[in-house]
């Protein structure tokens, strides 16, 4: 099949599986497990086929309903979108398999697993693919709503009072973000009469209504991406959720709104946004890197530590803006490459880190960092996965995280904005601080550690290790994926 005809299947498959999972919700474990594994295989297969198709044929466009934009809506896949589709399939399959393993472990221990996890899991994937492939501002809004609601639902599934209150807080932030975005969409429609991204990119001019629209959308999307100081909802939501949910939220969901922001600033309205606004986003990003890192350093619960680390790592994504707006073509290109590599490397590393943390907590039975004493001897593989992911987050070579930060650093030098170097370095040190803190506690010997560790399924470590290894391997082979991801992006036009 050509890439163009594959596009709608990227949504139809997860949406069908979501519907199927509502209907199968009370079925025996074995049946749902088989259906889910088949779904994951189909999803990964189709995503890889789409990647290959786009690599061969270039930009793929599918006019939905046979109506071309602006009357209809189109699905579009360039290299970046196709890469994110593959990333989504890989990360969510690993998280899904982890969830299946933990459901099975819960059942054998006589505990019940949360009902209705799987419909929301597949709806989340539908929403993500919908966002990566969207070619229309309003369609992106629908994608954001589906993403937000299924993510909130997955957080609430934890069932405890804490998970309900963080889910509600998450819901309020997500709704406020969506509404700000929607108001911006309405203004854009009033100004241009179309919502299709390529058409808008051609029509857009710098006038008050457009500027207000872009500002509103930017604020809404920053709230959804948990940019400092709008990040308050993230740590409780990501910290309290079930382990595979935390992994997907930190790895993929927050990237959805960031992706829209990137498309908006650099594909739709590059002439409307100003270097001053970009500097503002960069400063908030720097605040996120330092504040998130500092909070992670002081945090006493392991999963909350990893969640604070997400706030910090998202900050790097915003340092990209001042490096790419109003600077030279080379600096902008380097910054784009660094940012996109960071999106992928962080997704792999952070999902690995959450899965490894969940395994450690399951083994220890408590969630505190200080409770990890002695775990180093009993759970070497989980700790190894945690460390491997940490290497990429810290930006140590060779890893995807290192290459990403190196590119950002090069861009800061190329554009003469050396002060971002300090933030990059400070962030790296803070990351090293909180990763090593976990290690220090884990290698402490506790006096009575003979019987206090629960045995966890071996498969847990396999999934975390695979993801962590991929984030490191990305450092050894970043050239091809980078070239593919940046191919055809407007911000790269000056250097290609």
């Amino acid at each position: 099949m050509s890439a163009q005809s594959l596009l709608p299947w990227m949504l139809m498959v997860p949406l069908s599986w979501a519907t199927l999972m509502v209907l199968l919700a009370q079925q025996r474990d074995a049946i749902t497990r088989v259906v889910n594994v088949v779904g994951a295989l189909v999803l990964v297969g189709l995503s890889v086929a789409l990647y290959a198709g786009v690599a061969q044929e270039g930009l793929a466009v599918h006019a939905l309903g046979g109506w071309s934009a602006p009357l209809g809506i189109a699905l579009r896949a360039d290299g970046l979108a196709a890469t994110l589709v593959v990333l989504t399939a890989v990360v969510s399959s690993a998280c899904g398999l982890y969830a299946m393993t933990s459901e099975r472990a819960a059942r054998t221990n006589g505990k019940s697993a949360p009902r209705y996890f799987w419909p929301l899991f597949w709806l989340l994937i539908t929403a993500l693919n919908g966002i990566w492939l969207a070619g229309d501002l309003f369609n992106l809004y629908v994608g954001l709503e589906l993403l937000g609601l299924s993510a909130v639902g997955l957080v609430a599934l934890g069932g405890s009072e804490a998970s309900l209150s963080s889910a509600l807080r998450y819901l309020m932030a997500a709704l406020l973000g969506s509404l700000a975005y929607l108001l911006g969409v309405a203004l854009m429609y009033a100004a241009y009469g179309t919502l299709a991204l390529p058409e808008l990119a051609e029509l857009i001019t710098r006038e008050p209504m457009t500027q207000l629209a872009i500002a509103l959308m930017t604020v809404g999307l920053c709230l959804k991406t948990a940019l400092f100081p709008l990040h308050g909802w993230l740590p409780p939501a990501h910290g309290v959720a079930l382990t595979p949910v935390s992994a997907m939220l930190s790895a993929l969901v927050v990237k959805g709104s960031f992706y829209i922001l990137f498309r908006l600033w650099f594909e739709v309205a590059p002439d409307v946004v100003t270097p001053l606004a970009a500097q503002g986003l960069g400063i908030l990003g720097a605040g996120a890197v330092l504040w998130g890192g500092w909070q992670a350093l002081r945090e006493s619960s392991l999963k909350m530590l990893v969640a604070h680390s997400t706030v910090a790592q998202l900050g790097y994504l915003f340092i990209f803006f001042p490096l790419a707006v109003g600077t030279g073509a080379t600096a902008a290109a380097l910054a784009t490459q660094g940012m996109l590599l960071h999106v992928v490397a962080h997704a792999l590393a952070k999902s690995a880190m959450f899965l490894a943390s969940g395994t450690l907590i399951a083994s220890v039975g408590r969630g505190g960092v200080a409770d990890l004493a002695g775990v180093g001897r009993h759970m070497p593989m989980s700790l190894f996965a945690f460390g491997l992911a940490g290497v990429s987050l810290m930006g140590l070579p060779p890893s995807g995280g290192f290459n990403a930060k190196w590119l950002l650093l090069q861009s800061a030098l190329a554009s003469g904005q050396w002060f971002w170097l300090l933030v990059l370095l400070g962030g790296g040190l803070l990351t090293a601080g909180y990763v090593f803190r976990v290690f220090r506690e884990s290698f402490l010997e506790s006096p009575d550690d003979a019987g206090q560790f629960t045995k966890t399924p071996r498969a847990y470590d396999l999934f975390a290790l695979t993801l962590a290894a991929m984030s490191v391997a990305l450092g050894l082979a970043s050239r091809a994926p980078l070239r593919f991801m940046t191919n055809g992006l407007a911000v790269m036009a000056g250097v290609q």
């Binding site: 209705y116 629908v142 203004l187 009033a190 100004a191």
Partner: protein, 232 residues
């Protein structure tokens, strides 16, 4: 004090945003593209004669498909957080007049829903409106103490909730398998397919909206007792 600051800053942001909106709407540019005229041109080929229905179920049917998925997500979350049956109590008010009124109103509301669904292809109406009327009827019945079947974990409930999405997906995947673009209806069948999808959606939307009411958390016993004491 803190609360007051919060209110003040929220007020300031609202006023500033309102002023900015007022300003940009006054100086707004004239759009160079008119989708309304594009819709009018393509309307004869859409299978329906009302432009809103044509946009929702033909030109931008993909948006509607995802919106239906959003509704399902909400219903599933409510279902997942549903109280156990033992913790539930029948919630209704007892008024003779209400009972008699609702009893006569309910069949009429079903008729109104059916009309709205049918009217959708030629004038304002359609699945969302019809489904909301159905859900409203169910809520009224439930409040007046008549037994309305619970939307719970049974397969029948989940089937009714997903029925519309299943039908929509069948049409969507059918068009793909027939080698068309997603949701590209064959010209001859467009009107019939749209009515089929809308009819199925009406039922599901009604059930989903009612389920959100049915599965909403009950007031805790302690809350109700304190309320009763206040009434005394």
């Amino acid at each position: 004090m803190k609360r007051r600051y919060r209110h003040l800053s929220a007020g300031a942001v609202s006023v500033a945003l309102g002023a900015a909106l007022w300003h940009v709407v006054r100086v707004r540019p004239t759009p160079s593209v008119s989708v309304a005229s594009l819709v009018a041109d393509a309307l004869p080929a859409s299978g329906v004669s009302h432009n809103v229905t044509a946009v929702l179920l033909n030109f931008r049917s993909y948006d509607t498909l995802l919106e239906v998925a959003v509704l399902l997500a909400a219903a599933v979350v409510a279902l997942a957080l549903r109280d156990e049956p033992s913790a539930r109590s029948p919630a209704h008010v007892m008024y003779v007049a209400l009972d008699a009124f609702v009893w006569r109103l309910a069949p009429l509301l079903v008729l109104v829903a059916a009309y709205l669904l049918w009217a959708g292809s030629t004038r304002p109406g359609g699945a969302f409106q019809a489904g909301s009327v159905l859900a409203g009827a169910a809520v009224l019945l439930r409040l007046s103490g008549l037994k309305v079947t619970a939307v719970d974990h049974r397969l029948a409930s989940r089937g009714a909730m997903t029925f519309g999405l299943v039908m929509f997906l069948c049409v969507a995947i059918g068009t793909l398998l027939a080698g068309q673009a997603l949701l590209e209806y064959p010209a001859k069948w467009a009107g019939a397919l749209i009515l089929l999808i809308e009819a199925a959606l009406t039922i599901s939307i009604g059930v989903v909206l009612y389920s959100l009411f049915d599965n909403a958390p009950q007031a805790r016993v302690s809350d109700r007792e304190s309320e009763r004491q206040r009434e005394r």
